[in-house]
């Protein structure tokens, strides 16, 4: 007597990893492309963000970054400021001026990049400008956020 039940061949249940690997690789390639590892010289600061910023995202060679930041960011009105060259510990301006002089001797075409917190007083940045000018450095660059159009 023939049975009515049809014969179903046994199928092995497998996990198809190909789409998952596709997506994972896609994510990795995305992150590898968009990641620019933060330079230790650029300490986290609240930078100026002018309307229609003309700041250009250019890479300068032979440059020294001077960071000007608030010691107490919660009280910007009263907070004193700290100056540092790149990622180093805060230093008095006199020491920074001395180091700048040594840099200038080694690299005559030295450029200075001033990264100042947007909330610091102009007078505090002005002191940096003075030591830069006293060392005979003609090129000084101010750091600001790049505009939405990438420098317009």
């Amino acid at each position: 007597m023939a049975s009515n039940t049809k014969y179903h061949p046994r199928q092995s249940l497998t996990f198809n990893m190909a789409p998952m690997i596709d997506v994972v690789f896609l994510l990795i390639i995305f992150f590898v492309l968009v990641s620019t590892f933060a330079s230790a010289e650029r300490i986290p600061l609240e930078l100026p963000d002018p309307d229609h910023s003309q700041a250009l995202n250019t890479k300068l060679t032979d440059r020294v970054i001077i960071n000007v930041r608030l010691i107490d960011p919660d009280a910007p009105e009263t907070s004193p400021v700290a100056y540092s060259i790149g990622p180093t510990r805060p230093e008095p301006l006199a020491e920074i001026a001395e180091r700048l002089m040594l840099h200038k001797r080694a690299v005559p075409r030295l450029k200075v990049v001033v990264r100042a917190d947007r909330r610091v007083r102009y007078g505090d940045v002005r002191e940096v400008m003075q030591i830069v000018a006293e060392n005979g450095i003609e090129m000084m660059n101010i750091v600001a956020h790049v505009g939405d159009a990438g420098g317009e």
């Binding site: 690789f25 963000d49 003309q54 007083r121 007078g123 400008m129 101010i142």
Partner: protein, 165 residues
Amino acid sequence: MPPSIGSGTDSPVVHFRPRRKRAPRELTRLTLNLAPMVDVVFLLLIFFIATTTFKRAEGILPAQFPRQGSAASEVALPITPIVVRVVQTGPGPTDYSINVENFVDQPTTFIELSAFLKQVRENPGFDDETPVVIRTAPDVAWDHVVGCWNAAVRAACKHVSFGLD
């Protein structure tokens, strides 16, 4: 009748043994072990997800100081600079006022200042070479000074400098 091997007394005895049949090898399937690759890929993915912080790009606004000890300018005629003053009127980011010396109409924002400077440079006695001096008090927030500088750069002013009130 030919002598058979091993039948003589002086001939060497050779024992013939048939080769043993090897046991049939089990068929092994050559597969690619994906597990270590997936481990590494996930590790990389987790690393990037954990360490990536999206932040706005920063750029530079170039500035040039006058050369120290350089010879006097060959331009004989005195050039009247455009002096822009920024005054802080409060703690907020928009609490400032702008004053351009010797002009009646005044811009109120940095966007207006940019258009204003472009317009001024078209007047007789002013041109692209006319210096722009940003003169502010020491207690003005750096943000406003940079806003003013940016407006002058946007207006294509060639000589922009800082001053102190």
